[in-house]
Symmetry: D2
Subunit: 347 residues, 4 copies
């Protein structure tokens, strides 16, 4: 089958033939109809530092997808051939304390599809039934694929009540943009979106941000304070990993406010524990992945209800063999979610 | 000044002259521009059973209002002449355990305006600064008056996260209707409204209910179960006090669901503790009044953001002297919120 | 193997030979070293009304146990021969909404060991690995068996913060007694225990109750109010199912308080929704079973730390063939937890 | 009256006569029977950097005290001459968003006694009735004075459920030591205390720590991991402000764990946002002061119930004129809480 393969250490990847995976008794085999690129894929492609110690080429890249089940293992109990499925990237061990207490998304022995195992940038993909999510058959394959990053936003938006809140979102890439759409639908009364890329601020605006701020040219802290009548934002979401965003976010947050941290800084960040957190009696929440399957249920629910228009976030589409163009676009930042079709586009 | 006075025990009230209240050092005097009728006022007017033991005629009725401050006591620190204020009906003692721990709305020694003290169905009304809420000067006086019942809905909608929930609302009077509008704005994915009065179901629909059910003609429990794919509602709000609503609500709620109880049944209700609550590991919350001032801030915020169109709930307007028509209309149920003007209507 | 078998509809049970269960690929076979009697077992034995529609004799009774694994299925991954295990009575489907969102304890398709399947009042018992709990090998088999009801108490005590609370416990059978021990260890500052059986009040006292009240002779509501300086209890636990306990509990609870409902009344209870729940802005929680496996981890943890002396609650021991004496004792109420030994007592 | 006065910028203070304060209509005058020294007082004494920009000498130092009311203003409503009172150090404005929504402890316009106003290291002290706490008359004056720092520990211990938790406490000064005592009484199953001063580790042990670790000589992260069977601590409390404590605390915390931050680092701390917070889906809470009056009620309750033996934390006593010895001792770290008597010691 055709696949995007990280063939060896170093930047880049190749488009080449790979064996069609065989499945175990509790696995399903999926014909991949759409797959989408995540920031993690770009880091693997570009051979970032953390990647070097973690991955073991050669392997098939990719973790976001949607496709049809074409074969099921003998002990598969719910899924059937023809089902439209997506997959949870985080493959949990099922045995550690976190897994056994409703927090499999932070499993101690987590494996990631397309990082620790062969991924889904391929015509076919095999996964355990316990990692598969059965979609509403009416969902488009593009949205079904992109619902995993939407799930990150759903998880982030669920750690505190959004209704009636004035909040800031730092970082308006695909996940930040989804989050803005969700916060709008969940009753945020003022959404202040911050980024440095105009393309993304435009997307933020389309998704429902009341105000957009460019961190290069606007005085972010001052503006948020002004826009909240001097009170400070009730909460902020850090979706960018940019060190300056932490400072701006915490400083413009009101005492008693909530900080939701999702973005991954490339190194340690200097944090003013006293003024940003202690004196404010602040609530800070790290947010990772998606709760399994709580987040998926809620994601399906908001999609069905039309609460977030994910199609606005999906800005570009490629045949899979054009992957190098797709990755270059991702690197530029001038895009939302980018879809690739491993088996050609549906007409 | 002209006032609606509960002159003596028994049904009815009279429209007559009353002394203009004098104010204490920490009070303000308000010229009442709009006042609205609550179900409690109707029960006092009709001389319900609980009223007989509680009130001491003669007194001025009424508790919901908006008006301009025309005089301030010497120790009043924030309010000024000309401010547009409303008032929190519940006058807390400030000294009991609840008052001193952020729960003044359930004060042990609570007094109610228009029940235990002279009310606001009058040209002028005096109240402590600590019970007054300063409105956005741009708010219409009708909405400023009706924001107190909106506040009940805001409090009810705040006891659990609404986003992504499928929920039922039993009772679609003014507060239920406001609640439906809020739940819609706060991200409920399916709102099922239940009442027995068609006028109110129509209002529910206008406020954003996805489905309306008439408890006289529809099989409520069965329908809610069907509309939630057999899973049951994630939560329900009981806003009616009707005994049948408790049964329908609890039975159609999913295991692990949340019941929010606001309506006041006229007598004890038979509750199937085992099947409705224990086996379901259910969350049940009584909801009373409004949190002071948390709820008021949130109410102001959702009004400013246009999240609930309170003008749809305000269905009728009267000069105050036409009060008997206004009360008759309230009794019929064929209305939303009813406004009266003690000092004549603004043109 | 020797077993206690519900042989046919109607009261009673027989002690007779039963086939040793064979195990599936993911099951384990256990030699039962201790088993304990639950109120549910007594209701099956006595042939209560709900039992008639539910169970299908003949079947082996019993659900609480501890024993050694003597055989494991081919796909069993963690358990080994010789492990000391107990079992979660509630066998969840793993596929419903509740199961997939961390609430398997309220599974829509729940089966109960010893009710819907063959139980553990037998020399051997088979169960799926996913329902087995591996004990600390140093735990006594009696305590390992009785930790399931302790788990009910752990779950109940975990729905609200106990520290610094003045609280009432209605019903001081084995689970109520465990709960009292836990509340004591978790920082309750005043525990008021209520029952009608002196034996149980004595047990309550031993487990750490500060005050015991006999509902037959004491004015419970008045006493609790007095013991809390007129403020009312911060919370109460209803562990008895007695209708009068609900009235006493809610009336003596302070505004803003919490009611935890675990006991199962035999029929509907008249509840004063307005005064007990709405006006008090009360929190009410139904509590069922144990959270899987959150509660088990916490139970193991409090046992290891010596936070509750379960041996005080275990008051009687029998060889399994003396089961009719054991059941008669349970019916009398003059006991705590009753243990039976299907394979004879360890010396 | 005799007072400890910060007479001018720079290190030190003087013991000299000061005018007895006159009281306003809503104030009370107190004869100070015991006063205690806080770390903040030491920083003012030593003229730390933050102090220079904040305080305006000359003023009376000190904020922790207990004393008898000897005069009440005309509008004082609850307090009477002879009442034994302590005082909340944080004097809130009562008008900002935080004050009006139950979070006066993080008032936007906070003033601190003994920092922004004259303090209580004096024979007499005046304070608003709204900042005074009426003590149980049976409480010793030393404990009544030291209950404010105990309150910090009560507030910290209340942000998450302690029961059944394995937790680490970094920093075993008086507040950390109180916290250890509370966690023990609230059901922590393993308390691991960390400090660098042996005197304090000894105190930690006495207050109930299961294990003490000296950060100079022990491998803290490794030890905590080992002591929690490799799982990591469920939560940790950072009470020291030492940068290394943050690293050790976050690294040894399990995924899904809780970090409670109270200590004030003297400058920014490098935080590994990705590994410490995001990947762990961690809960982080800043904790400041005491909730008014929630924390005070709980503090009084745990003192009355004997849940924490504050007398163990009170290690030294001085007449107020010996203040320079008292401050030198505080600086050494070889003490717990230090009491001074402005009006001589009771025999």
């Amino acid at each position: 089958m055709k696949s995007i393969v990280k063939a060896k250490p170093g930047p880049g990847a190749v488009y080449e033939d790979w064996r069609i995976p065989s499945i175990g008794m509790r696995d399903v085999l999926v014909k991949v109809e759409a797959t989408s690129i995540c920031g993690t894929d770009v880091q693997i492609y570009d051979w970032h530092e953390w990647v070097r110690d973690r991955v073991k080429p050669p392997f098939v890249m990719g973790h976001e997808f949607a496709g049809r089940v074409i074969e099921v293992g003998k002990e598969v109990s719910e899924l059937r051939e023809g089902d439209l499925v997506s997959g949870e990237t985080h493959i949990a061990c099922g045995k550690c304390y976190q897994c056994r207490t409703g927090n499999a998304h932070i499993c101690l022995n987590m494996k990631l599809r397309g990082v620790d195992t062969d991924g889904c940038f391929a015509q076919y993909h095999a996964l355990p039934e316990t990692s598969a999510w059965k979609n509403d058959p009416k969902l488009s394959v593009e949205i079904a694929s992109a619902q995993e990053p939407l799930g990150n936003a759903v998880h982030a938006s669920s750690v505190a009540d959004i209704s009636g809140k004035r909040l800031a979102v730092f970082g308006c890439g695909p996940i930040g943009a989804c989050l803005i759409g969700l916060c709008k639908s969940f009753g945020a009364t003022k959404i202040m979106a911050v980024d440095v890329v105009e393309y993304r601020l435009k997307l933020a605006k389309e998704m429902g941000a009341h105000v957009v701020l460019n961190a290069r040219t606007d005085q972010v802290e001052k503006e948020i304070t002004r826009l909240t009548d001097g009170r400070g934002a009730d909460m902020f979401f850090e979706m960018s990993g940019a060190p300056s965003a932490f400072e701006q976010g915490f400083k413009s947050m009101r005492p008693g406010g909530t900080a939701v941290l999702f973005g991954l800084p490339s190194k340690k960040v200097e944090v003013d524990i006293a003024n940003w957190i202690v004196f404010k009696d602040a609530h800070v929440r790290g947010v990772f992945g998606r709760r399994i399957w709580n987040t998926w249920y809620k994601t399906a629910e908001v999609l069905r209800a039309g609460m977030v228009d994910l199609s606005k976030v999906i800005t570009h589409r490629f045949d899979m063999e054009e992957f190098s163009k797709a990755f270059a676009l991702m690197t530029s930042g001038n895009c939302g979610k980018v879809i690739m079709y491993p088996n050609g586009r549906k007409k």
